[in-house]
Amino acid sequence: MKTTAFNQLHKNAGGKMVEFAGYEMPVEFSGIKDEHMTVRNGVGVFDVSHMGEFWVKGPHAADLVQYVTSNDISVLTPGQAQYSCFPNGHGGIVDDLLVYCFSPEKYLLVVNAANIEKDWNWVVSQNKFGAELENASDQISQLAIQGPKALPVLRKLTDVELTKIRYYTFVTGKFGGFDDVIISATGYTGSGGFELYFPNELADQIYQAIFEAGAEFDIKPIGLGARDTLRLEMGFCLYGNDIDDTTSPIEAGLGWITKFNGNNNFIDKALLHMQKNEGVSRKLRGFEMIDRGIPRHGYELADEAGNTIGVVTSGTQSPMLNKGIGMGYVAIAWSAIGTEVYVKVRNKLLKAKIVKIPFVSPQ
């Protein structure tokens, strides 16, 4: 099993370690609910070093990134980041990712841990442009410092004006005494904060510096369990659950990152454009339980008579709402906000209703 540079620090902090995407990672420390509320109300630190990072450089970098991603990178200026996905050539999704624009000839693609090899092979196979590609996944560590108190903690460790880093922008600067740390105002929690990228060699020192600076704010380490509940309360897609090689970005509600303007020529553009114009037969929707129960990945969605109308892709008990919430694909006829649907839980039909996402609105 692979490990990140923080592995021993997680064990020292009492992390319950599990295998995730080939890495030994902490699933929880103080408890998922406690960690969840820590991020919503204070500040927490996630090790997300298992994620993959690909550099795309050179005079043809932009051509390749534009072609393999669904979003339009022509609107990016240096210092901006963008959420996107790799269409797979058959209307499905290879992965979702972040595109960081350093210059028109230098981009960083940040991909899911479970897909690093698949994504790398895919991007390499599509590189008819001659862009320079480098898989830096094993050299780069990443921490996400998330929550309303992330700003006062990190401010103590850098002269970079963090308040000027707007959402989905980033700065490369001095942090904790080290040059060239990427400080990105992004995250997967909905509670604000930053993601930091730096070489593995700095992992120990940056981690210690953050926890020392955060002590007065009761900073805590956060595991993958709360990462999942936090993202699900926001309705953020998780690859492998809510999106995969068989779901299209249009079905998944990712039309907003699938841009059909003239500047953007990308894989599956024509197919996805047709889907957008003609409509799709199912949609990814959020739902809240009305009856008591917790939806789980793979449970069936049904009508009142028990006929299957869809499938749950993600589900949990929401720590903020104290009720079951989930996402799933439902047939179009059942996809309107407010529609009552049923979740098959252990052969019972439990009532739920389609709601708007996000499920919660953190401060």
Partner: protein
């Protein structure tokens, strides 16, 4: 590890406390620790007579669903009403306020098939 001497234990991490011909049943401190934050307990078998090893309900943590098994056969007399609104009692006090059901035992000799604290501890450490 908290393993009271006066209880009997199952391989599936239930505990039993005997009160006359009634067995009080819950899950062990080890089990609650492994599950993490418990958010829902579903027991709809009150009034039913179930055999040893049959499922009497489910317990859901944030990330997982687990079945609950009868440590001894008998009629499920009642469930702990506090668990409906406060399933976290199982995390806080697995052997006390977090008890789950009371069972009128069919055959108290089945208790002999369960483990004592030392045997359960040995199983966990194996």
């Amino acid at each position: 590890m908290n393993l009271p001497e006066n209880l009997k234990y199952t391989k599936e991490h239930e505990w039993v406390r005997v009160e006359g011909d009634v067995a009080v049943v819950g899950i062990t401190d080890f089990a609650q620790g492994e599950l993490g934050d418990i958010v829902f307990v579903e027991i709809e078998t009150v009034g039913e007579t179930l055999a040893m090893g049959e499922t009497f309900g489910t317990v859901e943590a944030v990330k997982t669903v687990s079945d609950l098994f009868m440590p001894v056969g008998g009629e499920v007399l009642e469930l702990n009403p506090a668990l409906e609104d406060s399933p976290e009692l199982i995390n806080k006090d697995a052997y006390g306020d977090g008890w789950m059901i009371k069972v009128k035992m069919d055959d108290a000799s089945q208790l002999n098939d369960l483990m004592d604290a030392a045997a359960y501890k040995a199983m966990l450490e194996a």
